[in-house]
Every structure is written in structure tokens, then in C-alpha cells.
């Protein structure tokens, strides 16, 4: 039976992990490969790197980090941020990423998803969608709008329709972030997750709002997510990956309990 995944997300800028992390006692606390290996040992089912480096000239640093991580953590690695072309995706894959998340570039050029799926296979193309809730009216039900650039730019696209479109074009997974909930630790947007899970037939990774293990349980048992992603609760040591797995197992969700220490 396919197990549900728990995924820590590391935001990387200029080659260092930004935001607080739980491994503050390490001399190399901000080194992404070191942190990724620690999370892998702690039972992470996958690691996501989001490169939030603003300057394109720093891309070489990211490739070096991906390669060093691929050498230090024997769990899958998804890399996102700044991938604008098939050549970008190829470089990230060859450096050691298993999957590549595309966000803004897919809005600017949806055919990029199709090209990458044809070249590399749909299983390594992740559609990363940031969604903001639009309050429903009497005539219109609640909906979500796709936003880009960290929520600073609205696109007018409906998030559920957009997810369907990207999957039709070739995305093999959807990384779905609620911009409203992101960083709040107030729980995932379950309605958003449910709407997208119902609309697509590929795995959906829930992101944005994880505050406690019960939120992750809800994202899977109520939302139908295949995987749950979180950043700050792990980085700040509010909850461990093991405690999340235990809560999921207690709720009857199949998870991988044994750590992968190597």
C-alpha cells in the first residue's frame, strides 16, 4: 500500500537555509545538505528545497547544493524556485534532483510543463501552485485564485481549473500552497485541498498552515492529500517528524515509521 509522505521544506537563499532551524547547535547550521541529511535520518520521506534566491547569477550555487544533498541524503529530493526553461530543469535533474517544481514560469508559459514532461517524464514535473481564497457570494461559491511571486501578484486564474490544466499538460504531481495559511500555523486550507484532490488524478502535496500533527492528519484524512509539507514547525522544533508520523499512524494513516539512518 502506498504510504503517505511527510515532507520538510527548506527555503534556500544564496546557498544557505533561511528561517530558523532546529539544528542551531551545528556549526554549519545553515548548510542545506547537512540539514537535509538530518531530516532524512529523522524519518523525512522526501526533502523539498525552494530556492528563493532573487538573483539568477546565483543559480550555480543551487546546483552545487543539490549535488551535495544528493550525495548526503538517500531520500528523494524535489527542487523548486527559478526554473524557467527545460534547460534549467535538465540542469537541476542532472545535479541530483528527483523532481522539479515549476511555479511562476508555468503561469508565464504553460507549454513549458508539456515540454518538460515529454523530455524528462511527467513523474518529475511538479506543478507548484500558490492559491489565495476568494470569498464566495450568493451567486458564486468559494474559490481560489492563483498568485505568483510569493503572493504579490494575482493572475486571475482559478486554482482548481489551473491544477487540472497543468496536469493535462503533463504535471505528475501538484504542490498546493495556501498563501492565506502559509506561515500562520493555523492549519491547512482543507477545502482547497479537497477541491484540487477531487479535480486531478495525480498526487497532491498539501502545503501552508501546518501548526501541529493534527493538522497533518486532517490534510490527509479530511482533505485527501497524498503528502503533507511543512517548514517552520520542523525548523523550530515545535514538532518532530516522528511525532507527526505517530499521530498519522494513530489515525490509521499508513506511514513509514522506521527511520532511514545510514
Amino acid at each position: 500500500m502506498l504510504l503517505r509522505r511527510v515532507i520538510p521544506c527548506l527555503d534556500v537563499a544564496d546557498g544557505r537555509v533561511v528561517k530558523g532551524t532546529r539544528f542551531v547547535d551545528l556549526s554549519d547550521e545553515g548548510d542545506p545538505p547537512t540539514l537535509a541529511a538530518r531530516y532524512a535520518e529523522a524519518g523525512a520521506d522526501e526533502i523539498v528545497f525552494l530556492d528563493i534566491t532573487a538573483a539568477p547569477e546565483a543559480r550555480g550555487t543551487l546546483l552545487d547544493i543539490v549535488e551535495r544533498t544528493a550525495r548526503s541524503a538517500f531520500v528523494p529530493l524535489t527542487v523548486g524556485g527559478g526554473v524557467r526553461s527545460a534547460a534549467d530543469m535538465k540542469a537541476v535533474l542532472r545535479a541530483g534532483a528527483d523532481k522539479v517544481a515549476v511555479n511562476t514560469a508555468a503561469v508565464r508559459d504553460p507549454a513549458l510543463i508539456r515540454r518538460c514532461a515529454r523530455l524528462f517524464g511527467r513523474q518529475c514535473v511538479v506543478a507548484s501552485i500558490d492559491a489565495r481564497a476568494r470569498v464566495g457570494t450568493e451567486d458564486e461559491p468559494m474559490s481560489w485564485e492563483v498568485v505568483v511571486r510569493g503572493g504579490r501578484e494575482a493572475t486571475g486564474l482559478d486554482a482548481v481549473t489551473w491544477a487540472q490544466r497543468l496536469v493535462e499538460l503533463g504535471a505528475g504531481e501538484v504542490l498546493l500552497t495556501s498563501i492565506d495559511r502559509d506561515g500562520t500555523r493555523g492549519g491547512y486550507d482543507l477545502e482547497l485541498i479537497r477541491a484540487v484532490v477531487a479535480a486531478v488524478d495525480v498526487p497532491v502535496v498539501a502545503s501552508g498552515g501546518a501548526g501541529r500533527p493534527a493538522d497533518m492528519v486532517a490534510a490527509i484524512t479530511e482533505g485527501g492529500a497524498d503528502a503533507v509539507l511543512a517548514a517552520s514547525i520542523f525548523h523550530r522544533d515545535l514538532h518532530s517528524i516522528a511525532s507527526v508520523k505517530e499521530a498519522l499512524a494513530a489515525a490509521g494513516v499508513p506511514v513509514r515509521l522506521a527511520p532511514v539512518a545510514v
Partner: protein, 204 residues
């Protein structure tokens, strides 16, 4: 020391499998030309994606012949993910003719609730095989794929995995072997499998 040639045909991530094999004790080289396969104890064919484009890339460099010749000369074949699928004769994904080292075809994962099949899933042992020495029955491993190899001879199946229907997740026939999951991404058990491969293929 076991000499492993990892076939590089432009199909993505070679770093992970190369490093995991080195960690498992092998001497590893990347092989992008037929000459690179000479004297290898093991030919590892990695890769993700569709079989048609992969076979086209292998043929362009003459690597398809070089691989089957190497196996004919006694090298071990170890296919990972797409590398398992390429073992078979033909793909129902795109009609591609493949290496034909094992009788059978490549088909979509049967009765799957969601595809691609992405994540950790159990390797259910079907029969004993040295590749699985030290690996518990049902150990989870990482998968990312939509298609699977379907061998004509069910006796070649070493392990199977359930995702809706059941499919062969490890096949082996003599020196020809394939694994549908990614051992290089499957933590300690994945490294054990690669270690078993390296020992199995060690020159005597």
C-alpha cells in the same frame, strides 16, 4: 572491487545512483559510449520517463547493442525504474521496441487509484533472492513511475508491490535484474540492496 558502469544516455539524475553505489563499495564509472562498458562487472541502466525516447537515445549512441553484448559476455544487468522496463521486449506506452533481455511488456500500473505512483511502498517478497539479503519482507522503498514491467515468466518476479493492483517491483533471471523503485533514494534498505548487488557481481 566490483566495477560498475552506469549508463548515461541523458536521462536525468545519475549523481544519486552513482554515489549510492560507491557507498555500497563499487567502483563506478559513467558510460556514455559503448567503449565505456568494456570489462564492467555490472551495467546499471538508470532513468525515469518514457521508454520510447529513452530507447531512441540508447540507439543513437549504439548503447543498446553495447548493453546486450556486455550482458551476452557475462556482465550483470541492473535496471533501475525505467531501466527495469527497458529490459522487456515492447512497451504499450508508446509501442517502443526495447532491449528484449526478458520476455514481456511494459504496461500502465493496473487499477491504480492515482498515477504517477509516487512515494514509499512495500517490497513484498515473492521468493528468496540474494538482492534482498538483510531486507525485511515488506520494507518500504521509494517509487516514482506510471508504467511497470510485466514478465511473461512469473518465476522471474522476486518482489511485488501493491498500488491498486499488484505489479513486479523486482525481477531477476540469472544475471539480468531490474528494480522498479529507486534503491538510491530508499534509505538504509535501498543501500542494502545495492550492497547485495555489488557483492553478488564481485569478480571471483
Amino acid at each position: 572491487m566490483t566495477e560498475v558502469a552506469v549508463v548515461d544516455y541523458g536521462a536525468g539524475n545519475l549523481v544519486s545512483i552513482q554515489h549510492a553505489l560507491e557507498r555500497a563499495g563499487a567502483t563506478v564509472r559513467q558510460a556514455s559510449r559503448p567503449a565505456d562498458l568494456v570489462d564492467a562487472d555490472v551495467v546499471v541502466v538508470p532513468g525515469v520517463g518514457a521508454s520510447g525516447p529513452a530507447m531512441a537515445r540508447l540507439r543513437r549512441g549504439g548503447l543498446d547493442r553495447a548493453i546486450t553484448d556486455a550482458v551476452g559476455d557475462g556482465a550483470w544487468y541492473f535496471g533501475v525504474c525505467l531501466g527495469l522496463q527497458l529490459l522487456f521486449e515492447r512497451s504499450e506506452e508508446d509501442g517502443a521496441e526495447m532491449l528484449g533481455l526478458l520476455a514481456g511488456s511494459v504496461q500502465r500500473v493496473p487499477d491504480a487509484p492515482r498515477l504517477p505512483h509516487i512515494g514509499w511502498n512495500s517490497l513484498e517478497r515473492v521468493r528468496e533472492h540474494p538482492l534482498l539479503d538483510g531486507v525485511a519482507d515488506g520494507a518500504p522503498a521509494y517509487f516514482v513511475h506510471s508504467f511497470v514491467g510485466v514478465p511473461d515468466d512469473r518465476d522471474t518476479v522476486v518482489a511485488q508491490t501493491e498500488h491498486g493492483g499488484r505489479f513486479a517491483s523486482i525481477v531477476a533471471s540469472g544475471r539480468v535484474m531490474g528494480i522498479q523503485c529507486h534503491p538510491e533514494r530508499s534509505g538504509i534498505d535501498g543501500l542494502r540492496i545495492l550492497g547485495n548487488l555489488v557483492r553478488l557481481a564481485a569478480p571471483s
